[in-house]
């Protein structure tokens, strides 16, 4: 089956190992899997549209987030990584670019250290996954909404927050996303303390993008990932924070495209 044949089928709900996974699929080109972070996929539409002008973008709501069902198989990020390796098999994606933001970056790392056989490249955007001792991070769960916005955005995030208040359905998804993010990342917070031992296994071109004003996971983490992943490159983007792809969707999409064109022309 060609990848074009697949495409029309996978926009919407896909049954994967006993639960329904909601997949947004758009654009054309080489396949690119976008793995969202703790704040979910809503609001990432401009960023995904930017990627879709170059790639066949596959962006699932993680189980328990957005419009995907919860999965009994997924208790933690390790489970989610194996679940998405199953997804790559199910979609018969042989060589896929993987872009992960926040928890999504952590998932991509756990996938890659397990098997990068189907990976063509890896992009980490403000990624969770490791813990730098002595480098304070923000607490997205304990923070009031005002303080949360200061962690997530360099500028005013009120518009993003208000979007979630637009309908009761979106309000429910906002709460759902928070509960699902807690399930995956509460403790140890936003990391697998042993993951750094295995990052040398990543053998695909890797790029790291970080918001210069990220106060949830500060830019020191970008340098740490660079040290741990051989041959990786880093872009530090001024004027944005943790939700870089929402705050600066075009800069984000262009940076991803430039990297991929460089390593996989």
């Amino acid at each position: 089956m060609s990848e074009t044949d697949n495409r029309s089928k996978q926009n919407g709900l896909l049954d994967l190992r006993g639960s329904k996974l909601n997949i947004h699929r758009m654009g054309a080109g080489e396949p690119l899997l976008f793995l969202h972070g703790a704040q979910g996929l809503d609001g990432s539409e401009p960023a995904l549209a930017g990627l879709a002008s170059h790639f066949d973008v596959i962006a699932p709501d993680h189980p328990g987030f957005g419009r995907s069902e919860d999965s009994e198989l997924v208790d933690d990020v390790r489970d989610l990584a194996l679940f998405y390796l199953d997804l790559l098999d199910a979609l018969a994606l042989k060589h896929v670019h993987v872009v992960g933001q926040c928890i999504g970056g952590w998932v991509a790392l756990e996938m890659a250290v397990t098997s990068s056989a189907r990976f063509k490249s890896l992009v980490l955007v403000n990624s969770a996954g490791i813990r730098l001792k002595g480098v304070p991070r923000g607490d997205m769960f304990l923070s009031s909404e005002d303080d949360l916005l200061k962690l997530l955005f360099a500028r005013d995030g009120v518009e993003w927050l208000n979007r979630w208040r637009a309908t009761p359905q979106l309000e429910d998804i906002y709460d759902r996303n928070r509960a699902a993010a807690a399930k995956l990342s509460w403790s140890p917070r936003l990391c697998n303390p042993k993951l750094d031992r295995w990052l040398h296994r990543i053998d695909v071109p890797t790029h790291i993008i970080w918001g210069e004003e990220n106060r949830l996971i500060p830019p020191a983490y970008a340098q740490a990932f660079k040290q741990l992943i051989a041959g990786s490159s880093v872009s530090i983007v001024p004027g944005c924070a943790h939700l870089l792809h929402i705050e600066q969707p075009q800069i984000f999409a262009d940076d991803v495209f430039r990297f991929i064109r460089r390593v996989a022309p």
Partner: protein, 395 residues
């Protein structure tokens, strides 16, 4: 009716001015504000108060578990229950409760409960709680698994108390190859289990199940919620499970303050009860309800409830008016409890007779007045005085 003195053991010497600079007296209030010398005084004073209640004829005395806060200084209620077990002879000792599910090894607490039950010859009541939301920050436990872990910790503990060991426990969260408790509890099959809550339909339906019939305790609630939830227990037993709940299966827990006159009681209680509700119990939404701690439905209800009451400061008058506390002359307090019992028929009453910054002298007088002027009348109340039982008999 059985009457218990319930103690929270707050840090009553808290520098309230300094504490006001923090979001809560939980999780983020630095422990540099805890003075161990004051702690020494307070623990001993509070134990004296519980022992006094036992001497004065309360049916039971009660302690509970809270972590990393100034609201209640009992991260281990078992330490307090142990201290009380040899200083009292008749009173029940109610741990309301232990947060078994916050531990990696709930069996350790099951063992300690069994020890206290043996030492006291079966005077222990074992409460089981999930811990409040703030404690999922303090202990690092994942709130998204709170409900499921609570159920499994309960199953593990009850099996450990009742099943001949050694046996293997193979759960989702807990895995033990050898469960074989020494000692076993004194009471057979196990100490009475109580489920305290500030109002949860899920907890009520779980507690009322015929295989459990645990006593449900409604705490810190306005009269309308006490009515709603205690009646819900009886209705749930009848409609969902087809049996008639005993009045022993429900209880009410509330702060109580008594003085010579209604006005004097209000004036004396005011700063101390307002400290409890506005300072020690003030928690931001994110801290009280971490994501996943409540079911999606409960969270939605809580959000809309919060929007309607947000920013509301309690006063002694508003607390009395809503029935969250019972405060007045002995006559007023006696009448109010008698009246509420007539409506709801609960056979367990837990009175918080020390709260917030209430000092030693006022606390002792409160305990003595309650024991002398109010308690005898309440202890005499049975289902005969409960309207619901009369209606049932008439049918």
């Amino acid at each position: 009716m059985k009457i218990f003195l319930f103690h929270l053991m707050p840090y009553a010497d808290l520098d309230l001015g300094a504490a006001a600079n923090y979001r809560a007296a939980w999780v983020v209030l630095p422990n540099s504000y805890f003075d161990p010398k004051q702690g020494h005084e307070l623990y001993n004073r509070y134990l004296d108060e519980l022992e006094l209640a036992a001497e004065l004829g309360f049916d039971g005395i009660s302690v509970n578990e809270h972590h990393q806060n100034a609201y209640g200084l009992m991260p281990s209620p078992i330490v307090m229950a142990a201290a009380l077990s040899r200083r009292t002879k008749q009173a029940k000792i109610a741990i309301l409760g232990s947060a078994f599910c916050l531990r990696q090894h709930p069996l350790n607490i099951a063992e300690e409960h069994a020890m206290i039950d043996c030492i006291t010859g079966g005077r222990l009541i074992s409460g089981m709680v999930r811990g409040i939301g703030a404690e999922y920050y303090s202990t690092g436990n994942n709130p998204a698994f709170s409900h499921a872990r609570f159920q499994e910790a309960h199953d593990l503990v009850v099996q450990a108390w009742t099943r001949p060991g050694p046996f293997a426990f193979e759960g989702r969260f807990y895995h033990f190859d050898y469960v074989n408790l020494w000692p076993r509890p004194y009471q057979q099959p196990h100490p009475p289990i109580w489920a305290p809550s500030t109002g949860s339909v899920e907890t009520i339906e779980w507690a009322a199940h015929p295989s459990r019939k645990y006593t449900y305790l409604q705490a810190y609630s306005p009269t309308q919620s006490v009515v709603r939830y205690l009646n819900h227990y009886r209705e749930c037993a009848q409609r969902m499970y087809g049996y008639r709940a005993s009045s022993d299966q429900i209880g009410w827990s509330t702060p109580v303050y008594i003085s010579d006159t209604d006005q004097k009681a209000r004036d004396e209680a005011k700063p101390h009860i307002e400290c409890l509700f506005n300072r020690l119990l003030r928690l931001p939404f994110e801290m009280l309800f971490p994501p996943g701690y409540l079911s999606a439905k409960s969270l939605k209800n809580m959000r809309s409830h919060k929007r309607s009451v947000s920013g509301q400061e309690h006063t002694v008058d508003s607390l009395i008016e809503q029935g969250i506390i019972v405060c007045g002359s002995p006559d007023t307090v006696r009448k109010q409890f008698t009246h509420t019992h007539r409506l709801l028929g609960f056979q367990n009453l837990l009175c918080l007779l020390q709260f917030g910054t209430l000092p030693r002298d006022l606390t002792e007088r409160n305990i003595r007045l309650f024991a002398r002027e109010v308690m005898p009348a309440l202890q005499a109340l049975t289902d005969k005085e409960y309207e619901g039982a009369q209606m049932h008999a008439a049918e």
